[in-house]
């Protein structure tokens, strides 16, 4: 193990340090000063922190060539790209939660602080190369999110969602933890690299190892909401405050996938032939279940919950492809998906009336007449989720990358590719079910007047849509970024995948 000096170590975890310090400052700002403006000041501080996180990550990406990381903290393109993405997502979430909470009359400083704490956990996950760090990151992220879900104390729905999320999350964490323990027992290492090399050289306790791998996969599958471990998702997304739902759908999922990919790539690569069928089934089931069940939903957030499940399925295809292309596709997809999800949720935040009444499709009726630009942004983001070229912008290339990865895998995954596109066809039904009322129906008078959406929310929605569109025409930069961001484990090419049996 190479041992960098203290300042080097600090540099390696600088974003996490910044984020956690920012969280503290945010909290302090939130409890000081006059009541009226303090939550706003706190939010601004959190936003600034997130921006600093983005800048730091981009700086690391674009600066001097990356020094090799340590055995427990990675210092690669994968980490920094996703860190930037997650910090950006967190920033957006800060703005959205503030607007949403303000409308509901529950704006508090804890929310941005918790978001920053969750972000700390998430960025740790992008970097973790040691199971202890993995566990720490997951728990930091999850615990903060549990609380965020419950932040609206007057809402019974939020409370129910939080407790469900918490109990199921804790339950699954137990499996993950047990899996970690068993893998540790079988390989004698906590570090992904060490596990990998131990596994490659032949584990002493194969039964233990397999059980450990299985349990860890279960824990991770739960976090990314893969079927059949997805049951919490619709309920929790439904009950959580809309802005928080957006954060969970976009950033939490992205972070979970980051660690999912790194663990499979660095630790479990030699066992690919063993876990590949499991993930294959999970991916297929997730795509089908997510897309089909979304069809039957009336509430927008539940539709988007199932949609996020379906996207988890697509991302799993990228993971299953298990190659540099797969990793590239994953990064690319996460960027596109985060943009689209944040944009769509920004529009939903703009439309919420401050109560916890669930939004249904009818609430979108006549959106084009009320807020033409928001309607357009919403359409773009939703079409992007559908993976539609040009009008759906970068979403198409995201799908393209996944399909490419699937078909370029050393054992091409045609079946998964076909399942992917066929279930995508189904998704057209519900995505257009969201767009159609916005453009083809007249507005229904709202029960409560909805105030004009705050500038920040509009800006996020429109900015997301614009970026989606621009990247949809010129995806080169993102493609290059994603290609640079594949974890170093894949640098050796697709040889690791040769053990898959078709």
């Amino acid at each position: 193990m190479n041992a960098p000096n203290v300042s080097g170590m600090l540099m390696l975890i600088l974003p996490e340090v910044v984020l956690s310090v920012g969280a503290m400052i945010t909290l302090l700002l939130g409890v000081s000063g006059a009541d009226a403006g303090r939550s706003h000041r706190a939010a601004m501080a959190a936003l600034a922190t997130a921006v600093v996180g983005v800048v730091l990550a981009i700086g690391m990406l674009t600066g001097a060539p990356l020094a090799p990381g340590t055995t427990f903290i990675a210092n690669d393109g994968f980490r920094w790209t996703l860190t930037a993405l997650l910090c950006a997502g967190t920033g957006a979430a800060v703005v959205l939660t503030e607007a949403y909470d303000r409308r509901a009359g529950v704006a508090r400083a804890e929310t941005p602080a918790l978001l920053l704490l969750a972000a700390t956990g998430m960025t740790l996950l992008t970097a973790a190369r040691d199971l202890m760090v993995v566990f720490l990151g997951i728990e930091l992220m999850s615990l903060a999110t549990y609380v965020l879900v419950a932040m609206h104390r007057t809402s019974a729905r939020a409370a129910e969602a939080a407790v469900k999320y918490f109990l199921l999350g804790a339950f699954s964490t137990a499996f993950l933890l047990y899996g970690i323990a068993l893998v540790y027992g079988a390989t004698g290492s906590m570090q992904l690299e060490g596990i990998g090399s131990a596994v490659a050289s032949g584990a002493k306790l194969p039964g233990l190892l397999m059980a450990g791998v299985a349990l860890m996969l279960v824990g991770l599958a739960f976090k990314v909401a893969a079927a059949p471990f997805h049951l919490w998702t619709p309920d929790v997304y439904d009950g959580a405050p809309t802005a928080v739902t957006g954060f969970m759908a976009a950033s939490v999922k992205a972070a979970a996938f980051a660690i999912f990919l790194r663990i499979t790539a660095e630790a479990f690569a030699p066992l690919l032939a063993d876990w590949h069928p499991v993930l294959w089934v999970l991916a297929a089931a997730t795509m089908v279940i997510g897309n089909v069940l979304a069809l039957g939903q009336q509430q927008i957030k539940r539709v988007l919950a199932y949609s996020s499940i379906a996207h988890a399925g697509y991302l799993l295809v990228a993971v299953v492809s298990f190659s540099a292309e797969g990793a590239t596709a994953l990064v690319f997809y996460l960027v596109a998906y985060t943009l689209a999800t944040m944009g769509a949720f920004a529009v939903l935040v703009a439309l919420s009336d401050g109560t916890d009444r669930p939004l249904v499709r009818q609430d979108l009726a006549g959106l084009r007449e009320r807020h033409p630009w928001l309607a357009l942004a919403f359409a773009v983001c939703v079409l992007s989720m559908l993976g539609f070229p040009l009008a759906g912008g970068v979403g198409f290339f995201a799908k393209w990358q996944v399909l490419q990865a699937a078909l370029q895998a050393s054992v091409p995954q045609q079946t998964l590719a076909i399942v992917l596109v066929l279930s995508s066809v189904v998704s057209g039904g519900y995505y257009l079910g969201l767009i159609a009322p916005a453009f083809m129906q007249s507005p229904v008078p709202a029960a409560r007047p909805i105030p004009a959406p705050p500038t920040g929310v509009r800006a996020i929605a429109i900015a997301c849509a614009v970026v989606v569109l621009v990247l949809g025409v010129l995806p080169s930069s993102l493609t290059r970024l994603a290609q640079r961001s594949a974890p170093s484990a894949f640098a050796g090419g697709p040889t690791v995948a040769t053990t898959i049996q078709p």
Partner: protein, 97 residues
């Protein structure tokens, strides 16, 4: 010795799992999860006998996290109780379909 400890740990873990599966009371459920975590801790401790002290460090970490988790979990249970007047999970059915 290690394998016995591992077996005990596994048994404890399964007991905890069964508890989670069969009980409806949120607090009891949470306790069962804690039992599962502690069962894992036992494994860690036992395995660190084999592999060095990383496992023991992990135990400390898990205990810390579990404490934080407990704080949050109990707060959430209280919130639920305030809204629903019960902590029976099967009564929490606002969110479904």
């Amino acid at each position: 010795m290690i394998s016995e400890a591992l077996v005990v740990s596994a048994v404890l873990f399964v007991i905890g799992t069964i508890g989670v599966l069969t009980r409806k009371n949120a607090i009891v459920l949470f306790m069962c999860v804690e039992l599962m975590l502690n069962a894992v801790n036992l494994s860690f401790v036992a395995l660190s006998k084999l592999h060095g002290n990383a496992g023991q460090v992990f135990v400390i970490l898990v205990m810390t996290v579990a404490a934080a988790e407990a704080a949050i979990g109990l707060a959430l249970v209280i919130a639920v109780f305030r809204h629903f007047g019960t902590v029976d999970l099967s009564s929490l059915r606002l969110l479904k379909g």
